[in-house]
Amino acid sequence: MASRVTDWGAGRLVAILLGQAGAPTEFWVALASDEPGTGIDGDILADLEPAVAAGYGRVSIATGTGAWSDPTDAAFSTTVVPVSFGVPSADWGQISYYALCTAETSGEVYCYGEFDVPAVITATFEAVIPAGALSLQAASLDTTIVPA
């Protein structure tokens, strides 16, 4: 369930905190076969996602208390609703990671995380991420500054 903010996501959280960027109204959840990494963007991520031709597409999840847990005292927020990707038309292979993106295709990536248990997604079975399995978390980055 643990997740990591990307480089872009870290900057975006800072900008939102300072009121220099608006908060999103939705995230697009992506599935990935391998670790995206903190330098990822939505275009590079696409190489790790299942094929669209196999019936895959990113799924929108709203922001708000109806979809996300209260991060107070936790330093992370998890989904409180399941996320369904529908029934694949062909095998998607092993899925080990997820990512929260800004757009249905391409775009930027806020964060990514590794599923506790990787799953092999096969055709005809609905692919569902259960409630609580996605998280958005961040930690303070230590920056050593030498006074001038």
Binding site: S3, R4, V5, T6, D7, W8, A10, G11, R12, L13, V14, A15, I16, L17, L18, G19, Q20, A23, P24, T25, T38, A62, T63, G64, T65, A67, W68, D70, P71, T72, D73, A75, F76, S77, Y110, C111, L136, Q137, A138, A139, S140, L141, D142, T143, T144, I145, P147, A148
Partner: protein, 129 residues
């Protein structure tokens, strides 16, 4: 100085990005000095009480992937004698809550009449996964 996000700031950032907070981000932050470590997980922020001391507003600047909190010098002018080790940024000039904090590598003593300056860029904080 290592600058850290206090739990209040991390929680606020996550609430904003997940659409759970109707509150606006803080309109201003104020620098404060502590005679002890500013770590909120420690014994607590012990704000100076020396003569002429008051929290000072901090100018904020934003970098693409990090947060520069102090973009101009912050001056505590003509203080009474004292010692400081920790620096905190609060959301109110006199009360409020701690958003960011950092400690010097060692405590600094200053004499009566001195001005303590936190130079521009001294305090900055970022996020990691």
């Amino acid at each position: 100085m290592n600058a850290h996000w206090a739990p209040r700031a991390l929680t606020a950032a996550l609430k904003y990005v997940t659409g759970q907070s109707p509150d606006a981000p803080p309109s201003a932050l104020y620098a404060a000095l502590s005679s002890t470590s500013a770590d909120p997980a420690g014994p607590g922020f012990t704000e100076l009480t020396v003569a002429n001391y008051a929290r000072q507003p901090v100018s904020l600047a934003y970098g693409s992937d990090y947060l520069v909190l102090s973009s101009a010098d912050v001056n505590f002018v003509n203080l009474g004698a004292g010692t400081y080790l920790g620096v905190g940024l609060f959301d109110d000039a006199t009360a409020g809550g701690l958003w960011f904090w950092g400690d010097l590598s060692e405590a600094v003593d200053f004499d009566t009449g001195r001005t303590v300056t936190l130079v521009a860029g001294l305090i900055r904080a970022g996020l990691s996964g």
